[in-house]
């Protein structure tokens, strides 16, 4: 048991536990708070995986923007706790779904090479400067990340930009419409 | 200016009016049932745009007509006031027509008059007490109501429970500006009551 292990188990527990508490809390505000805990622990896990940039992005995007938006909407709509209980069939079907996923994952671990000994340990990260065209090496450096984004993934990033633009326009149209229709009703 | 000619023509137009003597402004007396139409015509035809004031007078319990209301209107055209008296017919349940439909300003004035005199304004949109609290049982500006007030419970029960406070008649004797009519001089001296209760030393009950 070394420090990394302890941290892994700690944050893994926190993230899964946070998620569980999230789906179980009655009031949306505590749910959002548990979700934040879960998301931040995932960011910590990213740090353990030496993906520092992604970790910070995780905090910035999820905790900093997405969840604030959630909280804002929850408070704006003043959503109260759910009434009533969850139907048993839903729970059973959900658990069954999870179970089948679980079997899938176990099979994956068994039959693919992921579970094998040689890939089961961590390799040292190569020096950060090794960048070449097609095969991008994992590194902690931002430079590699940016290089990858703007060479190999040039088209996807453009598409992502368009997606964001489309989403922005969509949201504006939606909120305008909802405001006007809300006014007339 | 409001001059003789204007007064004459006004009185001719509205024959139900009677003019009263006054040291300052034109004063007319108008029957309550005609009041609304008269005030309406004053605003629409004569240019009395502003309702300055609306109040009532309690002429005392012995009077035949105990309550009357007084309206003051101001005209930007004439740069002058007109005062309209109208006398409530009923002494027990005084009532008047409301002019708040014509002048929104009258809304609060009428509420205040109701609050203080208990004159009921029919057709008023929101006739409830404005200065005293809603449950207050008396009408303070009536002549039979003493200045000192009458013992009544405070509006908030929970506060009363803790503090044992209530609406008590104010001590008129020895008041700084009220001369006592009876009693000996020593009673009218200001007295120090025991007001030293703190959190440590409980309130004297």
């Amino acid at each position: 048991m070394n420090a990394v292990d302890i941290l892994f188990y700690f944050f893994a527990t926190l993230s899964v536990g946070g998620g569980l508490l999230m789906i179980m809390s009655r009031h949306p505000v505590p749910a959002a708070l548990f979700m934040i805990i879960s998301l931040v622990s995932v960011a910590a896990l990213f740090v353990l995986l030496e993906a520092f940039f992604l970790a910070i992005l995780q905090v910035l995007v999820y905790a900093g923007a997405v969840m604030v938006l959630f909280l804002f909407i929850i408070m704006l709509l003043d959503v109260g706790p759910d009434g009533g209980k969850v139907s048993r069939i839903k729970v059973i079907s959900g658990l069954a779904g999870c179970l089948s996923f679980g079997i899938l994952v176990v099979l994956l671990l068994q039959f693919s090479g992921i579970g094998s000994a040689e890939s089961g340990s961590w390799q040292e990260i190569q020096t950060t400067e090794q960048v070449n065209g097609d095969s991008l090496l994992f590194s902690t450096s931002l430079k590699n990340f940016g290089y990858g984004l703007f060479t190999k993934y040039m088209l996807p990033i453009q598409v992502a930009g368009f997606l964001l633009l489309a989403a922005m326009v969509g949201v504006i149209v939606l909120s305008k419409k909802s405001l006007t229709s809300g006014g007339t009703e | 200016m409001i001059d003789e000619d204007f007064t004459k023509s006004l009185l001719e137009k509205h024959s139900y009016l009677t003019q009263r003597d006054s040291v300052d402004w034109l004063t007319v007396e108008c029957a309550p049932e005609k009041l609304v139409s008269f005030v309406q015509s004053l605003r629409d035809l004569e240019g009395f745009e502003i309702l300055i004031d609306l109040t009532a007078i309690d002429h005392g319990e012995g009077d035949e007509f105990r309550y009357s209301t007084v309206i003051h209107l101001y005209s930007l055209v004439h740069r002058g006031y007109v005062r309209i008296h109208s006398i409530c017919a009923d002494n027990d349940k005084p009532a008047m027509p409301s002019v708040s439909g014509i002048y929104p300003a009258a809304n609060w004035h009428e509420r205040e008059t109701f609050d203080m005199f208990g004159i009921h304004f029919s057709d008023h949109p929101n006739l409830k007490r404005i200065l005293m609290w809603d449950e207050y049982p008396y009408f303070p500006l009536r002549k039979d109501f003493p200045l000192a007030g009458i013992d009544t419970p405070l509006p908030a029960d929970d506060v009363v429970e803790v503090t044992q406070a209530s609406v008590e008649p104010a001590p008129m004797m020895g008041g700084p500006f009220v001369s006592p009519n009876s009693g000996s001089m020593s009673d009218s001296e200001p007295r120090a009551k025991d007001e030293s209760w703190t959190e440590k030393k409980g309130k004297p009950v």
Partner: protein
């Protein structure tokens, strides 16, 4: 060391609770110098209360310019003005929302005794509903008088036992 009975009586510090007294002194020093008023500005006195916060009188010298309008954050309620029966309930509720230790200054004749308003609508002194620590005379009192009252209050805080100040008073119950 031999002590006579008169020594003990005279020198209170030797009585045995030296530590408590020291703690008292420290806590009281803190409380004395950080009195945040809750300006309960009701009438004319509120203007003089403003004046005492303004440049000429400057209550901030005593560290008291932090007027918190939220009762939970203030230590001393300055009742400045006429307390009517309609308002009395509110004054009491706000007093109840203040955290212990708390003090009340009745500023002006109206708040102290009802003053010149001996009428059906005016509560004859705010001490009918909240315990008052310092009364200030005047209608309205000059800002100097208010500052003097605040200094008197500081003295009073300094003399009090700091523990006793935390004793609960019965509060107005939930609605």
């Amino acid at each position: 060391m031999h002590m006579t009975a008169s020594d003990v009586a005279y020198n209170g510090k030797v009585e045995g609770d030296v530590i408590v007294t020291r703690a008292d002194a420290v806590i009281n020093w803190i409380r004395q110098h950080s009195v945040w008023p809750m300006p309960m500005g009701l009438a004319c006195c509120a203007i003089e209360l403003m004046a005492s916060a303004a440049s000429r009188y400057d209550i901030s010298r005593f560290g008291m310019e932090v007027m918190r309008f939220s009762p939970r954050q203030s230590d001393c309620m300055i009742v400045a003005g006429t307390v009517t029966y309609k308002m009395a309930e509110v004054v009491r509720r706000i007093y109840d929302q203040m955290g212990d230790p708390k003090w009340v200054v009745a500023m002006g004749a109206c708040a102290s005794t009802g003053g010149m308003y001996r009428s059906y609508a005016v509560m004859q002194g705010v001490d009918n509903i909240v315990p008052v620590d310092v009364y200030v005379s005047g209608c309205p009192p000059r800002p100097e008088a208010l500052l003097d009252a605040m200094m008197k209050l500081q003295d009073k805080i300094g003399r009090d036992s700091s523990v006793r100040n935390l004793r609960k008073t019965k509060a107005v119950a939930a609605q």
